[in-house]
């Protein structure tokens, strides 16, 4: 039963970037907020690549660079197209005066964010799993944990990609294997100097690899590497539907990726610190659930807020959490927690980059998925074979080589495939730029 002891103004479920940003926004407005985290501490169940983005993080924590546990500021992005044995790498490097992104370790960074939230008045409850939402008269009224029921005017669901709670109250249906990528990652310990040398960076600077092909040739999947202070994170994410159809084990793919000649020297002699796995929401705009109901809002991964084209997730989580928090504060001011009052959350999201970007790329995954064998298989290999041809010195006249290569584009596969690729590429470009 609801009483003064177990009732608060807002309960936020999930102590990740979305939940913490939401809770701190509410606490800063002087409202009472309880943040419930299922892990031993915030960040202990979280996994990402990964990097956090400085600008969105500053929106929540203006001075985070002074005290947050950061690994390296990223100064270089590399796009590696891997063939079976060869590789073509495109690199963009810029040392921004004000850093754009930092690598972080979630167990440290999320924990730091949660501590900051506590300082600002958020009541953090760890090691507590919310098993279901309490619904009364069509309103979400609170949460049921293993031990107790807690009541609130508003419950915010930031419970991650699996969000069983959003499903329970009908805000979203069951996820399908094509809606998520399964990601596995290894964090490999290496001395800082070795990382600096191998990735061509200075102390405190980092390099991000985005990896296409290789162990994932022809699959809807990508690999990644991030440099931390004294370790390198390497992993990959593959559409769960691909793994299911092909009967592949995700860690076999990762082991294969680690052995690729482009990758192996980068992590050689490193010691495995930790292996992890996590799902990434990939459904995009079309799979965004209902974002609010009477007494409830959904943000972060639970709302499918991932921009898979640009590898953005934590920023969408933070900003959606912030907007949910602002909406909660307005609703508390009016004592109106109806669907109508909370629809403000959706309106603000629609106005923000979050929904706009998701809409921009709404056809991307299905389009690329439809031609994954081509866009993530044939073409990465073809680009590599072009450079193989271009760099080979074998007394064959160059013009003959060019002709042979151009001819191969038309003879490798049925010519109709070329038209299909072109058609899907144009369709995708149009959907993004129109």
């Amino acid at each position: 039963m609801e009483n003064r002891e177990n009732k608060t103004e807002v309960i936020v479920v999930g102590g990740g970037p979305a939940g913490i940003s939401c809770a701190i926004t509410i606490a800063r407005a002087g409202k009472e907020v309880v943040l419930i985290e299922r892990g031993k501490f915030a960040g202990s169940k979280n996994v990402f690549g990964g990097a956090i983005y400085a600008k969105p993080t500053r929106e929540i924590f203006p001075d985070f660079e002074k005290t947050a546990p950061l690994e390296r500021k990223n100064v270089e992005h590399k796009y590696a197209l891997l063939g079976e044995e060869d590789a073509t790498v495109i690199s963009y490097k810029k040392k921004h005066e004000v850093p754009e992104s930092y690598t972080v370790i979630r167990a440290k960074f999320d924990r730091w964010m949660a501590e900051e939230a506590k300082k600002e008045g958020v009541i953090l409850v760890e090691e507590t799993v919310v098993r279901e939402l309490i619904v009364k008269d069509g309103f979400v009224k609170g949460v049921r944990t293993e031990l107790e029921d807690y009541y609130a005017d508003i419950v915010v669901l930031a419970d991650g990609v699996n969000s069983l709670l959003a499903k329970q109250v009908g805000l979203r249906g069951d996820l399908k294997p094509e809606d998520v990528a399964l990601s596995v990652k290894e964090v490999i310990k290496l001395p800082a100097e070795k990382i600096n040398d191998r990735f061509h960076v200075n102390d405190g600077e980092g390099c991000i690899y985005e990896i296409f092909g290789g162990a994932m040739l022809g699959m809807l999947g990508l690999g990644f590497m991030y440099t931390n202070k004294n370790s390198v994170s390497i992993g990959l994410g593959v559409a769960l539907s691909e793994l299911v159809e092909r009967g592949l084990r995700p860690y076999d793919l990762l082991d294969k990726l680690k052995k690729h000649p482009e990758i192996e020297p980068l992590i050689k002699d490193g010691e495995l610190l930790e292996y992890s796995a996590h799902l990434i929401p990939e459904g995009g705009y079309k799979k965004v659930p209902l974002l609010f109901g009477a007494g409830v809002m959904v943000c972060g991964d639970a709302a499918m807020f991932v921009n898979n084209m640009h590898w953005e997730g934590t920023n969408l989580a933070m900003i959606s959490g912030k907007i949910a928090g602002e909406t909660a504060v307005i609703a508390l001011g009016k004592r109106d927690f109806s669907e109508n009052a909370l629809s403000h959350y959706q309106e603000e999201l629609e106005d923000s980059f979050i929904i706009k970007d998701l809409r921009t790329y709404k056809d991307l995954m299905s389009g690329v998925g439809e031609r994954a064998g081509e866009f993530l298989g044939y073409y990465p290999q073809k680009i590599n074979s072009f450079f193989e041809m271009f760099t080979s010195v074998d007394s064959v006249p160059k013009r003959d080589k060019y002709h042979k290569f151009i001819k191969s584009i038309f003879t490798d596969r049925k010519i109709v495939e070329l038209f299909k690729d072109f058609w899907v590429a144009v369709k995708l470009l149009w959907s993004i730029l129109k």
Binding site: N46, A107, V129, D174, Y251, E274
Partner: protein, 92 residues
């Protein structure tokens, strides 16, 4: 030791005594793909042919949720471990 065992050895777990993963064995017996035995990143599921039973090494679970979504018959009982139990990532 297999490669996967080496990997899992690096993960910190606080195992519960009861499983948070509850397959419906009747469904597993007729399941053709037994996809959980391949997609699970921690190799939690093993099919015991002689006993016609799905073995669940739940204490190795990384709590990703892939099995729940991939389960062919959508019959897998899946919930998060208790608040004090399960995996604790230090390097996520």
């Amino acid at each position: 030791m297999s490669d996967l065992e080496d990997k899992l050895y690096t993960v910190k777990y606080t195992p519960d005594t009861v499983s948070h993963l509850q397959p419906v064995q009747e469904c597993c017996r007729v399941c053709k793909s037994k996809v959980c035995t391949t997609i699970c990143p921690a190799g939690v599921y093993e099919w015991d042919e002689s006993k016609q039973k799905l073995i669940v090494n739940f204490e190795n679970c990384l709590e990703c949720g892939a099995c729940r979504i991939a389960c062919e018959s959508c019959s897998l009982g899946w919930e998060y471990p208790k608040g004090t139990k399960g995996v604790t990532f230090k390097q996520g």
